[in-house]
């Protein structure tokens, strides 16, 4: 790759393959979520039908995540001069019908689509309530391009930003532009990306590194995975731009081994970018070199913390260390190192091409741009959601998520994963940005957003997160290693019905100590889920310790099973009870011996008359 002209020629050629001028382009959502729902068999069937029927003008393209998990597997058909047709919940049988009716005869199969809108046209995903308030910037290409074909990326202005940076701008100009855009790190802490880059740029060193942190560990967040699976080149391009800006010739992508699809697509993308000359020696004839290597994590949440990540990259146990020195001064193998999160990087090429003013036109003054959230839990529309900063939680949950599942009452939304907190309905009108979420006792985190309803016990949720941090604490510092363990023991005690009011005080004291004295962010934030649930749901904690009741009927030890008058005496429950705790005559109401009952719930599941209740 020698010049921008060469890139532009490539783009012209690539557009010929990308734009549909004849026949059909059939796009199948093949991210992990799509594959889990059965997209692979759909893709195979499409390829099989294409071959069997000799459909030479039908192009079948795997793509990344379209965003709406509930409708997967999703197939979209693009034909010249016609509106796009979206098919949902596809399976091999449906594929056969779509091929014969739509691709061959030209009649879309209405019953597999989202139906007709008010204007009489077929509805697309964009017409759904789920998409109306979204603003897709980072996820723009996911679900549109083939992530395994670099030409698709080139066709939509891929690598133009890199060309611009290395041939028309100085490293300082790149950094100043990033500073002016106000982009803040999407990994959770929200530090200015331009500032961070300037620290490493200011250091003189024979070698510097830039690392993409793709160790997405929050259990319930998958934004980064979707970007890597759907648009891997945007991350490679951003790393090269960052490398140029700070003076690093080597980049690493530290990605979770649990993301095999993302890893494979990154490998393909790197090989293609090297072949085209976007990575390697003398990029765009600028004299700059840049290379990227993938390194796999091995299942340790703490490696999302930057000093632990560096230790892991060096081939050691992933344990964090004290800062300073900050990685920008002394990082990987003692050299200046910049670590950026996937979503942060995915914003970089777009900001470079469209300018800082464009970026600042979205979001709020202090948190410009958009943020991707993984909306999940007890909500109707689960999926990936990209919204401008400043949107309210209410809009995300009610307008985009369309309310809690099954009409249940909303209780709380959890953001920030194991480091964050719960937000209750009183704070739902808070505009989402880095600072506001901290002010209401939670945090942005990487973007997990889990909705909980009346059936979720908040003590149990706090226990769940603590269980996670105890498991994932690296063990280096005492407050985190021992403190979180003690907190978990107390929570176990409370959920087992053996807690006292004094335990709540001890929990709060411990939490305070752990927050103030832990070595890294993992320990410093680990008590947050407990503190925020105690703050907002003290009544639930008190019900557990004083009344020995779990108001949401979750904590097993605090529940009892009873047989109501609806019992017909069918004896089904007697037969399934493993401890022979149920007795009674045939055709008469049965009773459960509470001393023998182990609360397994088998009787309740077996009863066809809904005569067994739990309270």
């Amino acid at each position: 790759m020698n010049s921008i002209n060469e890139l532009n020629q490539m783009k012209t050629d690539a557009l010929k393959g990308f734009e549909v001028t004849e026949g059909s382009r059939v796009v199948v959502g093949m991210a992990t979520c799509g594959i889990s729902a059965g997209a692979k068999t759909v893709l195979e069937k499409l390829l099989e039908e294409k071959a069997a029927r000799g459909l030479a003008d039908v192009q079948i393209v795997p793509t990344g995540c379209v965003g709406m998990c509930t409708h997967e597997p999703i197939v979209e058909v693009f034909q010249p001069g016609k509106d796009k047709v979206t098919y949902i919940h596809m399976d091999p049988d449906r594929v056969s019908k779509v091929v014969s009716e739509h691709l061959i005869k030209g009649n879309p199969v209405l019953e597999y689509t989202l139906g007709e809108g008010e204007n009489g046209k077929l509805k697309n995903l964009e017409d759904l309530q789920f998409y109306r308030k979204q603003k897709r910037v980072v996820l723009q290409n996911c679900g549109l391009i083939n992530p395994e074909d670099i030409n698709d990326y080139i066709a939509i202005d891929g690598y133009q930003a890199l060309a611009k940076a290395v041939t028309k701008m100085t490293p300082k100009e790149v950094i100043d532009l990033m500073k002016a855009s106000g982009l803040r790190g999407r990994g959770g802490a929200g530090f200015s990306t331009g500032m961070k880059w300037s620290f490493a740029a200011a250091n003189e060193a024979d070698q510097k590194y830039i690392v993409c942190n793709a160790d997405e560990g929050d259990p319930g967040a998958f934004m980064d995975r979707s970007i890597l699976e759907g648009d891997p080149h945007s991350v490679l391009e951003a790393l090269a731009i960052g490398g140029y800006a700070i003076g690093a010739t080597k980049g690493f992508i530290y990605v979770r081994a649990e993301y095999p699809v993302a890893v494979r697509r990154l490998q393909i993308a790197i090989a293609q970018a090297k072949e085209k000359g976007f990575l390697g020696k003398n990029i765009f004839g600028s004299g700059c070199d840049f290379d990227i290597e993938i390194r796999l994590g091995a299942g340790a949440f703490v490696c999302g913390e930057e000093t632990a990540l560096i230790a892991s990259l060096e081939g050691k146990r992933g344990m964090s260390r004290n800062k300073p020195p900050f990685p920008a001064n002394k990082g990987l193998w003692g050299k200046p190192t910049i670590i950026n999160n996937v979503e942060t990087l995915a914003n970089v090429p777009k900001i470079l091409l469209k300018g800082p003013e464009w970026f600042k036109s979205m979001g709020t003054e202090k948190s410009p741009g958009t943020k991707v959230f993984a909306l999940g839990g007890k909500i109707n529309n689960t999926g990936l959601v990209e919204v401008p900063m400043g949107i309210t939680l209410r809009e995300v949950i009610y307008d985009i998520g369309e309310d809690c599942l099954g009409g249940k009452a909303f209780k709380a939304v959890q953001t920030g994963g194991p480091s964050g907190g719960c937000i209750t309905k009183e704070n739902l009108d808070t505009p989402i940005d880095f600072d506001n979420l901290v002010a209401i006792g939670s945090m942005m985190g990487s973007g997990g957003m889990i909705v909980m309803d009346e059936d979720n016990c908040m003590v149990d949720i706090a226990r769940f997160f603590l269980d996670f941090t105890v498991d994932e604490s690296c063990g280096k510092c005492t407050p985190c290693r021992e403190g979180t363990k003690r907190m978990l023991e107390i929570l176990d005690k409370i959920t087992a019905g053996k807690g006292t009011l004094e335990d709540l005080t001890i929990l709060e004291e411990l939490a305070d100590n752990i927050k103030n004295t832990s070595l890294c962010a993992l320990g410093q934030t680990a008590p947050n889920p407990v503190l925020s649930t105690i703050k907002h749901f003290r009544d639930e904690y008190e019900a557990h310790v004083v009344d020995k009741k779990c108001p949401s009927s979750v904590c097993k030890a605090l529940l009892n099973y009873f047989i109501t008058e609806s019992c017909t005496g069918c004896t089904r429950c007697v037969r399934v009870c493993p401890t022979k705790a149920i007795s009674g005559k045939v055709k008469e109401r049965h009773v459960i011996d509470q001393d023998k009952c182990t609360k397994c719930g088998a009787c309740m599941e077996a009863c066809t008359f809904k005569a067994i209740i739990r309270k």
Binding site: S36, F222, G376, G377
Partner: protein, 166 residues
């Protein structure tokens, strides 16, 4: 004759060691290769027995104590053999709030071993995984490469497990 790993394998005859050696030779000149070598070893052998750790130690010059430290730190590495089928019940937050614990309890009950353990017949290993990334299908369980979603009723679990017993 038994080796000190307790089995009858013979390193010189075992092609797996040659495969591992070839990998080590291919990366030997890079920095920070330890994790990659352990990952490759686990892929080849299925787990990291002491004998394999010794072999790696001799070949990359990292003390075995350090290797053992790494192998036991990261959850992905196993130092005991895994079952033929790997069951991963997602205990990510989205699955958890939708009842993943009930799924886990049922799997544990059916197989009679705990989380992280392998059944006596060597058929299944149960693991709790963190977010498989298909929250739309919550609660989710994975057996090998197959995904089972929307396990709202745990009654279907014995039937699913049965498919892997043949």
């Amino acid at each position: 004759m038994q080796n000190d790993c307790g089995c009858n394998c013979n390193k010189t005859d075992d092609k797996r060691y040659a495969e591992l050696k070839a990998y080590i030779d291919s990366v030997k000149n890079s920095q920070g290769i330890t994790m990659g070598v352990l990952q490759e070893a686990q892929r080849i052998f299925g787990y990291l027995p002491l004998e394999v750790q010794k072999f790696i130690s001799e070949n990359i010059g990292v003390p075995i104590a350090e290797l053992y430290g790494i192998a036991t730190f990261y959850s992905q590495f196993a130092i005991t053999p895994k079952g033929k089928h790997h069951i991963g019940v997602c205990l990510g937050t989205a699955c958890y709030v939708r009842g993943a614990q009930k799924v886990m309890d049922k799997v544990v009950e059916e197989l009679g071993v705990g989380v992280g353990e392998t059944t006596k017949d060597g058929l299944f290993t149960i693991d709790a995984t963190r977010c498989l990334g298909c929250c739309g299908l919550a609660p989710v369980m994975m057996i090998d490469d197959d995904v089972y979603g929307k396990l709202d009723s745990v009654d279907v679990i014995p039937g699913i497990l049965e498919k892997y017993r043949v």
